[in-house]
C-alpha cells in the first residue's frame, strides 16, 4: 500500500449530502469529434456539491432515554448505537479497565441468554453486536439487516438491559486480558502509546492508564466494581440511542419504547480530574527494545478538551502539521527523507484535555536525524503558514465531508460527537463556514499556544544500545531511560 490511513484529528464531523448538486452539462446530440484534454494544466473543477444538515429526528422516552433517528434507505440495513455518557474516565482509582470490562461483559450473559446463545443468535441473524468503552462514553452497537430488525433489536435490548455478569465469564476475560498485557511486550507501538500516556498524565489521572487496564488493575477488579459501574452509569438519563437506516421514525420509536421504556433512571455521578501539571522541560524518554529495526516516536504534551474555542483553528493547523498525507511531518520525514512509512500528528480531544501527539515509526539508524526534523517542524508551524498551504488544508477538511456520510454506520458514528459534546443545533450547518473563517493568524496563534517545543515529552521505543549516545549528543533534552510502562528503571 502507498500509505495506511492517517488518523485525523480525534473529532468527528457531520453534515449531510442531499439537496442541490452540480449536474454535469447534458451532452449535445451531435457530439463533437473526439478531443484530447490539455495536459499542460490540471482541469478547472466546477463548484463542489453542496452539503446540508441531515434531518435528525430527536425523540425522548419518558425515562429520559434520548433518540436520534436518521432515515437512510440505500440498503436494507440499520445501525444502532447506544451511547452511555461515561467511559474509562469513570474507572475507580486503581481499577483501570472497569469500563471496558463492563462493556465486554454485556455480551457474555444476560438473565435469559448465556454468552454462547448471544453469539449464536447474532450470527444466525447476520447481525453484529458489540460493546466497548472509550474515555468519554461506553457504546453498545448493533448492525443488522432490517429483515431481522425485531429479533436483533430484542437481542440488543437484552444485552443492554439485563447483563448478568457471570463470575465464570469475568474470570475468563480477566485471563484473556492478562495474556494480552503480556503480549504488549512484543509490540513496540503499543508500548510507546502506553508509556506516552503514562508519562503525560501520571498515575493520578485516568488518561494515564490504559483503557483496558494494567496488570495490577486487572487483578484488582472484582465483580462488584463491574456491577456498580453498570448500575451507576448505564441509565436512560445518561444515554442516547442513535438509530440510522432503513427505518420509519414513529415505528422505530414505538419498538424502542416497548423494549427500553421500563429502564429505570438513576443518579449519575460525574468524576472531576485535576489536570496534570505541565512539563517544565523537554525530556527524551528512551525505552529499550533490543534489536528493534525501527524506533517508535511519540512526541507532544497535554492538549485540549473537545470544548476548546480553538477547535477549528486547531483542526486546520494540525492538518497542515501532520493531519494529512501532504502535511509537513509526512512530507518531510517520509516523502523527502524516506525515514519512515508515515509521520503524523493529532489532537485527541476528549471531555478533558487529551494528548497532542506527533508520531512515526522511524528506521533505527535515522532516529536522531528524525528527531531533529520533528523538532524543526514543530517549531516551523509557529511561523506564518503560506496562504496556499492554508487553503489546501481548509479545502481538504471542508470537501472530504461527504465521505464520512456514506453508509448507515458512517452516519451513526458521525452523530456521536453531537451527543457527547453537546454541540449546538446548527453546528454542522456552519461547519464549512467555520473552517472558512480560520486565518493564517488563527493557525499561528493555535500553534504557539498549544505546541511548546521547550516542554515536550519525547517517547522513543527502540534499541537502546544503538540510540542512547546519539540522542544524548543532540542536546535537545535530558535522556531518561524508562521501562516499558513508562516508569523509571529500578536500580
Amino acid at each position: 500500500m502507498k500509505h495506511v490511513s492517517l488518523p485525523l484529528l480525534a473529532l468527528v464531523l457531520a453534515a449531510c449530502v442531499s439537496g442541490p448538486r452540480t449536474e454535469a452539462p447534458a451532452p449535445s446530440a451531435a457530439a463533437p469529434a473526439p478531443m484530447v484534454t490539455d495536459r499542460r494544466t490540471a482541469p478547472v473543477l466546477g463548484p463542489p456539491p453542496s452539503l446540508q444538515l441531515p434531518p435528525i429526528i430527536r425523540r425522548e422516552l419518558s425515562n429520559g432515554l434520548k433518540l436520534l433517528i436518521v432515515e437512510h434507505r440505500e440498503l436494507p440495513v440499520a445501525d444502532f448505537i447506544l451511547l452511555v455518557g461515561t467511559g474509562g474516565e469513570g474507572d475507580p482509582a486503581g481499577k483501570a479497565g472497569v469500563a471496558t470490562l463492563t462493556a465486554s461483559l454485556l455480551e457474555e450473559g444476560t438473565s435469559t441468554r448465556n454468552a454462547l446463545q448471544i453469539a449464536d443468535q447474532s450470527a444466525f441473524l447476520g447481525a453484529q453486536v458489540g460493546a466497548t468503552s472509550a474515555w468519554d462514553a461506553s457504546r453498545v452497537a448493533l448492525h443488522t439487516p432490517t429483515a431481522q430488525l425485531d429479533s436483533a433489536l430484542a437481542l440488543f435490548a437484552d444485552v443492554v438491559l439485563r447483563p448478568s455478569f457471570p463470575v465464570t465469564e469475568i474470570e475468563r476475560l480477566r485471563k484473556e486480558r492478562l495474556t494480552s498485557l503480556l503480549q504488549v511486550k512484543d509490540q513496540p507501538r503499543a508500548i510507546a502509546d502506553r508509556a506516552y500516556a503514562s508519562i503525560l498524565y501520571g498515575a493520578g489521572h485516568p488518561y494515564g492508564q490504559p483503557l483496558s487496564g494494567t496488570e495490577s488493575s486487572t487483578q484488582a477488579i472484582v465483580r462488584t466494581d463491574i456491577q456498580q459501574f453498570y448500575r451507576m452509569y448505564y441509565r436512560p438519563n445518561n444515554a442516547t440511542l442513535i438509530i440510522v437506516g432503513d427505518v420509519r421514525p414513529d415505528e422505530i420509536e414505538r419498538k424502542v419504547a416497548s423494549l427500553f421504556g421500563s429502564w429505570e433512571r438513576g443518579t449519575v455521578a460525574r468524576s472531576e480530574w485535576k489536570q496534570p501539571p505541565p512539563s517544565s522541560t523537554t525530556t527524551i524518554y528512551l525505552i529499550d527494545k533490543p534489536g528493534a529495526p525501527q524506533s517508535s516516536f511519540r512526541i507532544g504534551s497535554v492538549g485540549v478538551p473537545r470544548s476548546t474555542s480553538d477547535y477549528f483553528a486547531l483542526l486546520v493547523m494540525n492538518t497542515i502539521l501532520g493531519g494529512s498525507f501532504t502535511s509537513r511531518l509526512n512530507n518531510n520525514l517520509r516523502e523527502t527523507k524516506g525515514y519512515t512509512y508515515g509521520a503524523r500528528s493529532r489532537f485527541d480531544m476528549r471531555r478533558s484535555a487529551g494528548p497532542f501527539t506527533a508520531s512515526a515509526e522511524i528506521t533505527a539508524a535515522k532516529s536522531d536525524s528524525a528527531l531533529i526534523e520533528f523538532m524543526k517542524e514543530l517549531r516551523a508551524i509557529q511561523d506564518t503558514v503560506p496562504v496556499t498551504e492554508l487553503m489546501k488544508a481548509k479545502r481538504l477538511r471542508q470537501l472530504e465531508l461527504p465521505a464520512s456520510f456514506e453508509s448507515t454506520r458512517d452516519i451513526a458514528s458521525q452523530l456521536i460527537p453531537i451527543v457527547l459534546y453537546d454541540l449546538p443545533g446548527d453546528y454542522y450547518n456552519s461547519y464549512v463556514e467555520q473552517i472558512e473563517r480560520v486565518t493564517q493568524a488563527d493557525v499561528q496563534r493555535a500553534a504557539r499556544r498549544y505546541i511548546d517545543t521547550s516542554k515536550l515529552a519525547v517517547v522513543i521505543v527502540g534499541d537502546r544500545t544503538a540510540l542512547e549516545s546519539a540522542l544524548k549528543s543532540l542536546q535537545m533534552g535530558t535522556v531518561e531511560i524508562r521501562d516499558i510502562t513508562g516508569q523509571p528503571l529500578r536500580p
Binding site: L45, E74, V77, D186, Q294, G338, Y341
Partner: protein
C-alpha cells in the same frame, strides 16, 4: 430456518454496470450511484508480485509507490496536493495478482482524478529519475519494517509461502519483497516494468458514484484515448496445482512472549468450485464464539488466547489457514492435538444445519455491507471483472454461499485438510523445542 434474510439480501445485492473498451484496449466500467455526491475511481493493472522476476521480489509494490511521485505534467508532490485541495482521498494496493489505485472524491473532482490517472499511465517516464526510485525504496523498506520486521510474528506468512510453494512459483515470495531485492531494483527495472505492464491494454478503469454517464465517457476518452496501446502481455506462468508431498514442520524464533502455531493447506482458487465452501468451513472452525475450535480451545478449555481460520483466496491457488496462540504455560503440541481432534470430529460427523446457517447468514450480511460505499463498489467491479471475468458478478458471488450445503462443507474438509500441509511454530528465542512436529492430521 431463517425466514427473510435470504430473499431480501439477494434483492439488495445488485451492482449494475456498463462496460466498454477504448480502441487502445483500456477497459472502462461505469456504475452510477447518486446516493451521495461522491465518485470513486479504481484503476486496475493486471500485474502483481506474481509477475516479478527472480532477484526482484517486491518490485510490483515498489513500482506502485513510484506511481504517486508525479509524471510529465504533474510535478513531484502535486499528485497528492491537487487531490487533497479537491477533498479527495487516494491510495494504492498491490497483491500477488494485481495492482490497484483508488481515488474517492466529491463528484466535481472527477475530471481531476481522470487527468491524474491518465498522466501517470501515459506520461510517467519523461520525469522518472533515480531520486524518485531511491526515495520510495527507503519508504518501502520502512513499510516492510513497520509491517513485518518490527512486528511480532511478522515473518510468518512469507516463511509459510516459501515452504508451501515450489521454488519459482509466483506466490512463493512475499508481495513486500526482501530487503536485498528492494536494494537491487534499478531505474532500468522501473522503465522496463512500466513499458511492459502499465499500458492501456493491461488496465481497467472502474468508476462508481454520482456522475453523468455521457460526460464521463467523454472525459475518459479525452484523457486516455491518445495513450498508445502497448505490446501484448508476456505469458504468465500457469503453475501446476500445488501439492506438498508430506507434512512439513517448521520452526521460527522471534521476539515474542508466546508461541503461535500456523497450519496451512493449499486450497481452491478464488471463485472456483469449493472456494465458497472453504470460506464456510473456516467460519465453522473459528468464525464465531460457537465455532468448533474457538469454543473448544478459547472459550471452554481456555488453553488458547486466540484461534482463527480463513481461506485466503487468490487467482492461481489459495491457502487455507488455521492459526492458534497457546495461553502462557500451554504447549503448542497440546493445542495441536486438540485441533486434530476437532478436525477429526468434523471429518467424521460433518457439520450441523445451525452452523451452516450462521456462516451463510454472516457472509450474506458482509456482501451487503460491501456495497455501502462508492469506493467499495468501484473496487468490487474491478475485482469481479478481473477474477470472475465479468463486473456483473455481485449477486452470483452472494449466491455461491447460499448454495453451499452441509455435504459441501464436509466434503471440502476431507478434500483439502486431509492432504499434507505446512505447520509453522513461531517460538520465543531459544525455545525451538516447542515446535509442533505431530499431533494434527
Amino acid at each position: 430456518m431463517l425466514n427473510g434474510t435470504g430473499p431480501l439480501a439477494a434483492q439488495a445485492i445488485s451492482l449494475a454496470s456498463e462496460k466498454y473498451t477504448l480502441p487502445n484496449g483500456l477497459e472502462v466500467i461505469l456504475h452510477e450511484d447518486r446516493s451521495v455526491p461522491m465518485v470513486a475511481v479504481n484503476m486496475y493493472y493486471k500485474v502483481g508480485s506474481g509477475d516479478e522476476k527472480p532477484g526482484r521480489t517486491g518490485f510490483a509494490h515498489l513500482f506502485e509507490h513510484i506511481m504517486f511521485m508525479g509524471s510529465e505534467h504533474v510535478q513531484v508532490g502535486m499528485f497528492d496536493q491537487l487531490l487533497e485541495a479537491a477533498g479527495a482521498d487516494n491510495n494504492g494496493s498491490t497483491n500477488e495478482d494485481r495492482t490497484d489505485y483508488n481515488i474517492q472524491m466529491p463528484s466535481n473532482a472527477l475530471p481531476l482524478a481522470l487527468w491524474l490517472d491518465a498522466d501517470r499511465l501515459g506520461w510517467l517516464l519523461p520525469t522518472m529519475d533515480q531520486a524518485k526510485l531511491d526515495l520510495q525504496r527507503d519508504v518501502v523498506k520502512n513499510e516492510r519494517r513497520q509491517g513485518v520486521d518490527n512486528v511480532p510474528y511478522g515473518r510468518a506468512f512469507e516463511t509459510i509461502a516459501q515452504a508451501l510453494y515450489p521454488s519459482g512459483h509466483p506466490y512463493s515470495w512475499p508481495v513486500i519483497g526482501s530487503m536485498a531485492d528492494l536494494s537491487a531494483a534499478s531505474l532500468d527495472d522501473v522503465k522496463q516494468f512500466f513499458r511492459t505492464y502499465y499500458v492501456p491494454n493491461n488496465a481497467t478503469l472502474a468508476i462508481a458514484g454520482d456522475f453523468h454517464r455521457d460526460s464521463v465517457r467523454r472525459w475518459v476518452e479525452r484523457n486516455f484515448s491518445q495513450i498508445p496501446r502497448g505490446p501484448e502481455m508476456p505469458a504468465r506462468p500457469t503453475p501446476a496445482p500445488v501439492i506438498i508431498a508430506r507434512d512439513t514442520f517448521l520452526v521460527l524464533e522471534d521476539r515474542v512472549q508466546l508461541p503461535r502455531v500456523y497450519w496451512t493447506w493449499p486450497s481452491a482458487p478464488l471463485f472456483q468450485a469449493d472456494d465458497a465452501a472453504l470460506d464456510v468451513l473456516a467460519y465453522v472452525l473459528a468464525g464465531d464464539k460457537n465455532s468448533r475450535l474457538y469454543k473448544r480451545l478459547v472459550y471452554d478449555m481456555q488453553l488458547a488466547q486466540d484461534v482463527s481460520a480463513f481461506q485466503a483466496s487468490s487467482r492461481l491457488t489459495s491457502q487455507f489457514f488455521i492459526i492458534a496462540t497457546p495461553k502462557p504455560g500451554q504447549s503448542p503440541t497440546t493445542i495441536a492435538g486438540l485441533v486434530q481432534e476437532e478436525l477429526s470430529r468434523l471429518m467424521q460427523d460433518g457439520v450441523m444445519p445451525r452452523e451452516l446457517e450462521r456462516a451463510r447468514n454472516t457472509f450474506r450480511a458482509r456482501k451487503i455491507d460491501q456495497l455501502s460505499s462508492v469506493q467499495g463498489k468501484a473496487s468490487l467491479l474491478n475485482y469481479y471483472n478481473y477474477f470472475a471475468g465479468t463486473p456483473d458478478y455481485a449477486r452470483q458471488d452472494a449466491e455461491r454461499y447460499d448454495r453451499v450445503t452441509q455435504a459441501d462443507v464436509h466434503r471440502v474438509a476431507h478434500t483439502y485438510l486431509e492432504k499434507p500441509k505446512v505447520v509453522l511454530t513461531i517460538v520465543p528465542a531459544g525455545q525451538t523445542a516447542l515446535k509442533v512436529t505431530r499431533g494434527s492430521r
